[in-house]
């Protein structure tokens, strides 16, 4: 048992929650495994209120305080050992997100392109080329944690955050790129703005994307930006079954 446990840490996090942490670097295989195992736990464990997913862990929250004699940790480990992620089909979506990279909507694009020794055109091309993996949502409501930024675009966050980053601003911070769902303070370098609404509290599903979905950016003009924002046009997507 101890061997199997060496790659999975099962840790009581609070009176009502247990943390499952995988000791490996976050990769797409691990993400798919986390999504599939989350499903297994939700249908096999009693009293679960919610399971949240992050890069390499699941946090299981229960309705009632966890009792020592419940042997919950053992039960979770047993479920994991008999779990076969290859058997579970994951349905996901690929989202196409429009971004206006024109200077009015991209306060740091010129400075960043000079710093990275790229033309603005090259920078936009490198940003719109990859398929980004959506890991989870956090930081702000509707803020997607994306993996897949081209290494040529890695750039540290600003030393002191900007007090007002606009809603929809698309930024680069370290190895990450992301879309600010709302106006907020932020330290990322802003290279464009998306007219797509990333978070709408009036909807039953306030954010269209979820863990396991993918996303790519495409460049649009200011005219298209205004049209999409004015008419609240939702983003295009296609279904993927793994």
């Amino acid at each position: 048992m101890s061997q199997e446990k060496s790659f999975l840490k099962i840790f009581q996090y609070s009176e009502t929650s247990i943390l499952l942490e995988f000791k490996q670097e976050p990769k797409i295989d691990l993400l798919n495994e986390l999504i599939a195992f989350k499903k297994t736990l939700n249908s096999n464990l009693c009293g679960i209120k919610q399971i949240t997913l992050s890069y390499k862990s699941l946090l299981l929250q229960f309705s009632n305080p966890i009792k020592k004699d419940q042997n919950l940790k053992e039960e979770i480990l047993k479920l994991y050992l008999s779990f076969d992620s290859s058997k579970s089909k994951i349905k996901s979506k690929h989202w196409n997100i429009p971004v206006c990279y024109e200077s009015k909507y991209a306060s740091d694009l010129i400075v960043l392109s000079k710093y990275l020794k790229l033309s603005q055109h090259q920078l936009i091309k490198l940003h719109t080329k990859p398929i980004y993996q959506i890991y989870f949502i956090g930081f702000l409501p509707g803020f997607l944690y994306l993996v897949g930024l081209d290494t040529k675009l890695y750039h540290p966050r600003k030393k002191s955050p900007t007090l007002k980053v606009c809603k929809g601003a698309v930024g680069i911070g370290g190895r990450q790129t992301g879309i600010y769902p709302n106006q907020s303070p932020g330290g990322w370098n802003i290279i464009g703005t998306s007219p797509t609404s990333m978070f709408d509290p009036d909807l039953k599903q306030p954010c269209f994307a979820k863990s396991g979905d993918t996303l790519s950016f495409y460049s649009i003009s200011e005219t298209t930006f205004k049209k999409i924002r004015k008419n609240r046009i939702p983003p295009n997507f296609r279904e993927i079954t793994l």
Partner: protein, 283 residues
Amino acid sequence: MIEILNPGWHTSIQDQGRMGLQEFGIPYSGAMDMNSFNWANKLLNNSLNAALLEMTIKGPKLKFHAETVIVFTGAQMDIKHNGNKASLYSPIFIKKNDLLECGACKEGCRTYMSVLGGLQTERILSSRSQCNYITKSGHINKKRILQIKKESFELNKGVSLKSPLPSYNIKEIEVFKGPEFDLLEPVAQLKIATQTFTISHLNNRMAYQLEEKIINKLPEIWTTSVLPGTVQLTPNGTLIVLMRDAQVTGGYPRILQLSNHAVNILAQKSTRDVLHFKIKSFD
């Protein structure tokens, strides 16, 4: 209807919050001191999730446009009902056009006012709790009108109205070791377990920062799930205790986790109050 003549220092509508919506990055929210919240609703026979007012540091001035019954719980406060002193933990019978003036919190910093049937404000994402980015405002503003229900009230005989008031002078904060606690150097661990900490002026519904620093030599961690009550250690050595409106993920090491009870206790503390951690295990 309740009319807000003056909102006080920071008054917001709260219920039990938005549990279950964290996959969208939505904060938990809900009353900071759930113990006082529960008492406030229990004493009126309200449903467990009935929305009420959470008053911080200094309470509001209110005018009632309908008959109702209200109860105050939590931090002690001078309350004037049409100029007469009213007390906490017992029902106050309100008539149309009554005025209610709330003073400053004494001993503790959050006072709760429940209303018979609960406040009937807009429900967003299954909760009435106000929170930035989710509701239009994170707090109530002057001139706002709060809708209430017309309900009959019977004194709740099952609940003792003279329940012992909780003491907010407790300095002990009960915690469990967080996932990254054991990675700290023994000196740092000892310091956390024995030192007295002071609450910085940076304290609100999202988080409480502590003034005394802990040497942090821990590596950065991959952004991960956090809960209200999670104590993070920043690269410059500051301890941050996450509270109800905190973001739901974080990238700083998680050193401690407050017990549910301790979150309620801390919620009644404010700038310059002191505390020490008592590390407990689950077994």
